[in-house]
Amino acid sequence: MQQYSMELITAFLGSLGFAMLFHVRSAEKLLFASLGGLLAWGVYLLMGFFSGEDVIRYFFASVILTVYGEIMARVEKCPATLFIVTASVPLIPGGSLYHTMEYFMDNDFAACSMQGLKTLLLAVSIAVGMLFPTSIFQLYQKLVSKRQ
């Protein structure tokens, strides 16, 4: 439990750090962007009850965070990218990508290709997870603008 709360707090702080690194300036947007990071990791941890597969947990975390990003973009009237990029920071397979390259440098090609494939799958599940809500929101917007 203590480990989970630590992960959630640092996911929040890490997203905050990246939001600031990417020059987000308003305090309100900084807060919502970092809350997105916390939400993304929270969903990832919750999905652990249903599935042990990282690919599935990342996928659902990414779907939820994109829905959150699209909603916040409409509330705050700014591009959804702002929330999606910063909130996905705890999910991005940076560590995994690094280990892949580490094996490569160690000449351990079997481990490298295993880890590389895993990294790629994680990145794919995040990317595909982002795709669905974005398309649905775009479709909705088209329908609304046609009706007007």
């Binding site: 910063t86 690094y98 390259m101 440098m105 990317a127």
Partner: protein
């Protein structure tokens, strides 16, 4: 040339030329906005869409836009001035979400009302000179990210402190290198190598417990995880060329970083 003695065909030609000249000026400004959107980290599809909308707002009857990460090509058509094409070479990409948001707003204003090219240029300049975080705050940001992810991946408090301090040192190095306009890969090698050495030194002097846990915080600053994810997103939404370019860039950068850390491990 004597203006009074022109045939009707010639006057018409002159009118078309004047119209084309004006359209060219507008197109140049629109491309400026598109270029800065792309450089601040906008998706390729968003840039294409914004440019197309702005062209329509200024009276183009058809606008064909092709954007890849390195270039923008726009051709507009209208019965008043014929076809016009401009291209723009785009280099470098650095996330600046505040600028992106302001550019997006500008784009919306452009689409709703009529701006003169001169006004457009001024509005754009104002956005480009918007205030940024001071160097002190940037140091804090590097420390915050490093120590957060050191803890996130299971490091101890001492690891987080060491990682934060190394993060600050890396920011200094990064700034010095960026002043010299060197390749981003050089910066990545130097930063990761130094990061690895400092993490090793920190453990040796009992400032931290685990080299891996200290390093992972610094790695999150350097490793192109976001670029990797976004490159796949680009490819899935149909922008295969841009996606591939960003994908290869991300892999190369990750390799360079691993090489830097391997170098440090070899020295230690």
């Amino acid at each position: 040339m004597d203006v009074t003695n022109l045939t009707p065909a010639e006057t018409e030609r002159l009118a078309v030329m004047a119209e084309a000249e004006r359209a060219n000026e507008y197109l140049y400004q629109i491309l400026d906005i598109g270029q800065h959107m792309l450089q601040s980290g906008a998706e390729v599809s968003r840039v294409e869409d914004s440019i197309r909308r702005m062209c329509f707002a200024y009276g183009a009857e058809r606008a064909d836009v092709l954007t890849i990460t390195a270039s923008i090509i726009v051709t507009i058509y209208s019965h008043r001035f014929g076809a016009l094409t401009q291209t723009r070479r785009v280099t470098g990409m650095k996330y600046d979400l505040n600028r992106l948001e302001l550019l997006n707003q500008l784009c919306r204003i452009v689409c709703s009302g009529q701006y003169e090219p001169e006004e457009l240029r001024q509005a754009l300049e104002e956005i480009l000179s918007a205030k940024q975080y001071s160097f002190g705050v940037q140091l804090f940001i590097y420390a915050l990210i490093s120590s957060s992810f050191s803890l996130f991946f299971g490091g101890s408090v001492m690891d987080a402190v060491a990682s934060g301090i190394i993060g600050i040192i890396l920011k200094f190095i990064d700034r010095t290198i960026q002043k010299t306009d060197a390749s981003p890969f050089l910066s990545a090698v130097l930063c990761s190598c130094l990061g690895g050495l400092l993490a090793g030194a920190a453990v040796r002097f009992h400032l931290g417990d685990s080299v891996d846990m200290i390093s992972i915080g610094n790695i999150m600053l350097l490793i192109p995880g976001i670029a990797l994810t976004n490159s796949l997103r680009d490819m899935f939404s149909g922008n295969t060329i841009s996606g591939l370019m960003r994908f290869i860039e991300a892999i190369l950068l990750a390799l360079t970083i691993a090489f830097g850390f391997a170098l440090a491990a070899g020295i230690l």
